[in-house]
């Protein structure tokens, strides 16, 4: 794999292979994904075993993001119970995987082969297109499946064909591409953001440690970007989960009685969405303040 720039910064766009088991290559991003899953599993298992009606500190900490996300999902449509687990699961997985990449040692501790750059043991999972594409394919299958389930296969194809029937030969491919572009944009958005974040952090560290005169900057300039990455990790996890939710909600929304009625129906279906977070927000924000 080619290097990005000179010898100063080494960036690899694909995950590096650590070892292979019978032809199955285990990459460092897989290690990152497995560690993130293990953290989530351990938290779920521990809190489930020690949960009480009056939540303790740890239980509240684990429940907070779940409740917050579930509140938003609960307002999206009347059938939210069937996909709330998927949306919250996507959110938590991406959040933990993103924040795992900011732990010291991740991306800096690894193997060094002769004459090659460092191969880190752990790479943030979302900095590998395979991980984000996998999540997007899951979300894609779910929202297409919902479209087919609610409207039937014929209804779904009719919806893709568009409203004036004589325009169908033109609109069918366009709508098909727009459906597929959701898959591409979902995966590329997460991958691009996390990978660009990694490159940014590497560049900032390389620039501030390049010469002795700028070395004092190395103590706080990467820190600023570290805080920024914390924020981006949360926002990107939220964006992925909310977009998956929106696509599912759009697939469920009725379009049967013409375009105009469909729009109105969608509006009424979304109305609780506008109420639920608003109603829950003041209580959740005023509690810590």
């Amino acid at each position: 794999m080619p290097d990005a720039g000179g010898g100063l910064i080494h960036v690899s766009i694909q995950a590096e292979v650590l070892f292979s088991i019978g032809g199955f290559e285990v990459t460092n991003s897989m290690v990152g994904a497995v560690i993130a899953s293990l953290i989530l599993l351990a938290a779920a298992w521990y809190v489930h075993g020690h949960s009480s009606i009056v939540p303790g500190r740890l239980q509240s900490f684990v429940e907070l993001p779940i409740e917050w996300m579930a509140d938003i999902v609960a307002g999206s449509s009347s059938r939210w119970r069937s996909y709330v687990a998927l949306v919250v699961g996507l959110f938590l997985m991406i959040l933990v995987a993103n924040w795992l990449g900011l732990v010291p040692g991740v991306g800096t501790i690894g193997l060094v082969h002769e004459g090659e750059a460092l191969t880190p043991f752990v790479r943030p999972a979302a900095a590998d297109l395979n991980f984000t594409l996998g999540l997007s394919i899951v979300a894609f299958i779910v929202f297409v499946w919902w479209g087919v389930r609610v409207h039937g296969l014929a209804g779904y194809l009719k919806e893709i064909a568009g409203e004036p029937r004589y325009m169908a030969p033109l609109m069918f491919p366009i709508h098909l591409i727009s459906e597929l572009s959701r898959l591409i944009s979902l995966s590329m958005r997460l991958f691009g953001n996390v990978f660009a974040g990694e490159v940014l952090m590497t560049t900032m560290l390389a620039l501030t440690t390049a010469a002795l005169a700028v070395l004092p900057l190395a103590f706080f300039v990467p820190g600023i970007f570290l805080v920024l990455e914390l924020l981006f990790g949360l926002v990107q996890a939220m964006v992925f989960a909310l977009l998956a939710m929106t696509y599912i909600t759009l697939a469920i929304a009725e379009h049967t009685a013409g375009d105009h009625d469909g729009e109105r129906e969608k509006g009424t279906a979304n109305e609780p969405d506008l109420q639920a977070p608003g109603a829950s927000r003041p209580s959740s924000t005023s509690a810590p303040a």
């Binding site: 990005a4 766009i13 590329m188 691009g192 964006v239 969405d273 977070p277 608003g278 109603a279 927000r281």
Partner: protein, 74 residues
């Protein structure tokens, strides 16, 4: 030589991030204006706001992807 040209092309591809940058600024300023007029609407605004910014930002991400392809593949 080819490496230099593709690096230049990658830099030029990132010029496409200008548009989304302006768009994000407009979106954010409008959201803040709406919030200033109607502070109780923060919960209502939140989800559409995040989604709007994410969809605007997708264009910049496409530029980034093109730039990355030019650097690493081209």
């Amino acid at each position: 030589m080819q490496g230099n040209v593709s690096a230049l092309a990658a830099g030029l591809a990132m010029l496409g991030a200008i548009g989304p940058g302006i768009g994000l600024g407009i979106g954010f300023s409008k959201a803040m204006e709406a919030l200033g007029r109607n502070p109780e609407a923060s919960g209502t605004l939140f989800v559409p706001y995040i989604l709007g910014l994410a969809l605007t930002e997708a264009v910049a991400i496409y530029c980034l992807v093109v730039a990355l392809i030019l650097i690493f593949v081209g």
